[in-house]
């Protein structure tokens, strides 16, 4: 995208200020003036997005900070569980000094007022499990999901019967669900990492009928559990744990 340049444009559009805005280099009311213009000017919104793209390219990728635990604890401090499909609203505090200063300067309010209402309207499935046909010995490949690697975890039910396992293929782990009991209506299986003080959701497993699905486990995960949850899942386990097991990888 080429910059919006030329005399006619620059007379109508605050192009200097827009560049400063992209750098967070404006002060006080100047921020609000630009935001008021952005609210009504599509070409300046495009211009700003291009500025931000260029500035983003100036940032090298550093090592991810070890703050995921803090993020996770805040997003789990929710008011209600998402049984009705509505978005969750965490009540955990944002660091106060950041929140206050952002409000004072209207920081990035730009994006709140610019975001199209239609931007996030639909639930989008991010993956689908694959029906599995076993070869008798438990190995096989179907619809692109191989389960030929070694089994590194067996998840057993309360009676000690194996109902699921994790297979370590060369290209990643696969969770294989084999003998989970049939669920009641409006229920769904959910996978958890249960290493720490609080279970960490690893995702929903559907009805648990024979399936194999790629699994990307956090490196620190060793203990897994599957619980029976309301459809749509829970923030923390609320239903009975139907299977659990430990990952043991070959040295």
């Amino acid at each position: 995208m080429s910059p919006v340049t030329g005399r006619p444009h620059s007379e109508r559009h605050p192009l200097d200020d827009l560049a400063l805005y992209a750098l967070d280099a404006l002060e006080g009311d100047e921020v609000e003036d630009v935001e008021a213009h952005l609210e009504v000017c599509a070409s300046c919104r495009q211009e700003l997005a291009a500025h931000e793209g260029a500035l983003g390219a100036l940032v090298e990728d550093g090592p991810p900070p070890e703050v995921w635990d803090a993020v996770q604890s805040q997003i789990r401090a929710v008011e209600v569980a998402p049984m009705n499909g509505t978005p969750l609203h965490p009540v955990g505090p944002t660091p106060a000094h950041l929140d206050q200063s952002a409000r004072r300067r209207g920081t990035r309010r730009r994006l709140a007022l610019l975001a199209a209402a239609a931007a996030v309207v639909a639930v989008v499935g991010v993956g689908v499990g694959t029906q599995l046909a076993n070869d008798g010995d438990g190995s096989g490949t179907l619809a692109g999901v191989s389960i030929d690697g070694p089994t590194v975890a067996v998840l057993a039910d309360a009676h000690g019967a194996d109902v699921a396992r994790v297979v370590a293929n060369d290209d990643g782990d696969v969770l294989v669900l084999e003998k989970l009991p049939t669920l009641a209506a409006q229920r769904e299986y959910q996978l958890w990492a249960v290493d720490g003080a609080r279970p960490v959701s690893l995702g929903l497993l559907g009805d648990g009928h024979d399936e194999a699905m790629p699994l990307r486990l956090p490196a620190s995960t060793t203990k897994l559990a599957i619980s029976d949850e309301p459809a749509g899942g829970s923030i923390t386990p609320t239903g009975p744990v139907v299977a659990s097991g430990t990952i043991v990888r070959p040295a």
Binding site: A19, E27, P65, T94, A119, V126, L204
Partner: protein, 194 residues
């Protein structure tokens, strides 16, 4: 919705944000995996210390969880947007810290230390950047580059940048815009999609 473990890794950015809006923690974890490095880099660069950068980074991703509708996929890429969020937060931290120091100096009746020369600060910031970032910026006119480096990586407002460089504010405004547009042209010529 049924989101299967590990499947978020192959989802597009807009799909991930849509899933975040519906409370999918796996999706926000995947966004974090993809872009926390970039958010972290800009936060640490501007804040200059690890503790503040961690606060900034944490806030950016918690905000994404709380208000995912603020990201508009029509307007740009998720990475750029998250970097902009992190930058804005980091600038807030730097400016509030600067204000705090000034208050302390007044309270202690200390003579404020003279501000560093803008040229020196710009050179120092520039030297600390990654090679590929330096190469990109180095193709700009020196005046334009110094103004951008001080404002973006130094977290200075354009007025502070003008004072540091001893240049009129209007001139600094023009330099920043010209430099940014030049940077865009260069990146586009190199096939970097903005």
């Amino acid at each position: 919705m049924t989101s299967h473990p590990g499947a978020a890794a192959s989802a597009s950015d807009p799909d991930l944000v849509a899933a975040v809006a519906h409370g999918d923690e796996q999706a926000v974890a995947e966004v974090y995996r993809r872009y926390s490095g970039a958010a972290w880099a800009v936060a640490q660069r501007v804040c200059g210390n690890r503790a503040s950068a961690e606060d900034v980074c944490q806030t950016v991703f918690v905000d994404l969880w709380r208000r995912p509708e603020r990201f508009d996929p029509e307007r740009g890429k998720l990475r750029s947007w998250l970097v902009a969020q992190a930058h804005a937060r980091a600038v807030d931290v730097v400016r509030s810290e600067t204000a705090r120091q000034r208050r302390q100096e007044r309270a202690a009746r200390l003579v404020p230390t003279p501000p560093p020369s803008g040229d020196v600060e710009a050179a120092s910031l520039f030297a600390s950047l990654a090679d590929h970032v330096r190469r990109a910026l180095d193709r700009l006119a020196a005046d334009d580059r110094d103004a951008i480096v001080l404002a973006y990586f130094g977290g200075h407002s354009y007025r502070e940048t003008a004072a540091l460089l001893g240049a009129p504010e209007g001139t600094v405004k023009s330099r920043i815009r010209r430099g940014l547009e030049g940077l865009r042209r260069m990146l586009e010529a190199e096939g970097v999609t903005l």
